[in-house]
Assembly symmetry: C2
Homo-oligomer: 259 residues x 2
């Protein structure tokens, strides 16, 4: 049982939780909780090490047994140590280091999401979760968006990381990837999304709440679209606004496919 916070494995977990650079260098990230570990284990994701403590549920213990059979390195740690690593108030008693397995970008995508200058990890996680639910095929992350593999993003993504191709790219690469697509920007001054045809292959750029979209994004954009507000409030949470627009794309495509 690991008891020291200076144990190299514990230090590695802490480094991966804390810094994007560490995650990039190690090509790995940390996931927490039984459900996320089950998803990683059932998919094509290599678990480098799993740590658990005595508070783990029966379902969690079954998972640990299965991981052990698959040859995954497993270590028990003290509850104090687990609590010091956990990002949640009520830790589930299990976390793991998982190798980042970058899923390939499909050859002719018809639905790409570009979260631009999104700094809030919860908002980015929400966008990823909604993107997975809306059938988005690729997420391209420009340089100024927060790291998708940060712990809070992973937590609010609820498994989206295991299903969606998520690529950190330059604006040149975004231009190349989206050259055959219509490019829309979520913008309060845009045309109503309900009056805009979103059925053709497209990329949707969603800007951050404070700064909006970057100059580079605005250069690429063909059309700005908005969500008409009927109340006197002028803004929506960025994660919500992006989600409403993504599902408007799904709605239009599903309606048109029935006619």
């Amino acid at each position: 049982m690991i008891t020291s916070s200076q144990n190299p494995k514990i230090k590695l977990v802490r480094a991966l939780l804390g810094r994007a650079k560490e995650r990039r260098d190690a090509n790995a990230f940390v996931i927490e909780g039984v459900r996320l570990l089950e998803e990683a284990a059932s998919g094509d994701w290599r678990i480098e090490i799993a740590l658990y403590d005595g508070s783990l549920s029966e379902r969690g213990k079954d998972l640990v047994d299965r991981l052990r059979l698959k040859g995954v390195e497993i270590e028990e740690v003290t509850q104090t140590l687990m609590k010091s690593l956990s990002e949640t108030e009520t830790p589930q008693g299990i976390l793991a280091i998982v190798e980042i397995n970058q899923l390939p970008i499909p050859s002719s995508p018809n639905f790409i999401l570009i979260p631009d200058q999104i700094r809030d990890p919860g908002n980015l996680g929400t966008l990823l979760r909604s993107a997975a639910a809306a059938g988005v095929q690729t997420v391209l992350l420009p340089p100024d968006t927060t790291d998708a593999f940060a712990p809070k993003v992973v937590r609010s993504g609820m498994g989206a990381h295991f299903r969606l191709p998520i690529h950190s790219v330059t604006w040149e690469e975004i231009q190349e990837q989206t050259k055959d697509l219509q490019i829309f920007l979520a913008d309060m001054d845009g045309k109503s999304c309900w009056e805009t045809d979103l059925r053709k292959p497209l990329a949707l750029i969603v800007g951050g709440e404070s700064e909006g979209a970057s100059e580079e994004a605005r250069k690429l954009v063909m059309q700005k679209i908005s969500i008409p507000m009927s109340g006197d409030v002028e803004s929506l949470n960025a994660g919500v606004a992006g989600s409403i627009l993504m599902f408007e794309v799904v709605r239009q495509r599903s309606v048109s496919s029935k006619h």
Copy 2:
């Protein structure tokens, strides 16, 4: 200048931040940041006391001057003390105790939101913010939903609290208030929201992420509606799902009003 954490005003702020019962007993809540204080000051909301510290911006200082002219009690506090009260990582140096001014429920509402068993304050705040933007006329909070005036709800509500009638009610009162409305429940097993007519006066019940809607809610419901997912993920964040459905109501009503 207040320097002691034992000062009665500081203790009152802490109590109001911490416990729903204190907020109910005092009929007051705490708001933080320049923008929210500006909104409170410009509307019909009584600010009981405002606290600021030396880090306050110029815009914030102007606000303090205006509040002082209006006769609001103002106290400077140390930055350490402000930081200990603040819910944010980068405090703006100002907060206030505001009297809860329950806005009246309109006589024949056609759009009511009922967030049921929503425990996560961020999700409830998101729903309130979206409700204000979607022109929802009243929010009815059943007994098992988290307190709408808790600090995290207020923060993510972004001013919705000053615009929306938000009433904590029993299920009997909900039944009475909704007796002339169609009642819909957001539910994964429901009929597609895109194929459901949402133009008539309605109440929308959105359940919590872990437990869904309560038994009492299910007894009232006339129809379950869902957001069709095209990805292989089976759920959306509760705040997002409720927001997508609210804006689907807005969309259907705006399209129909044009024909």
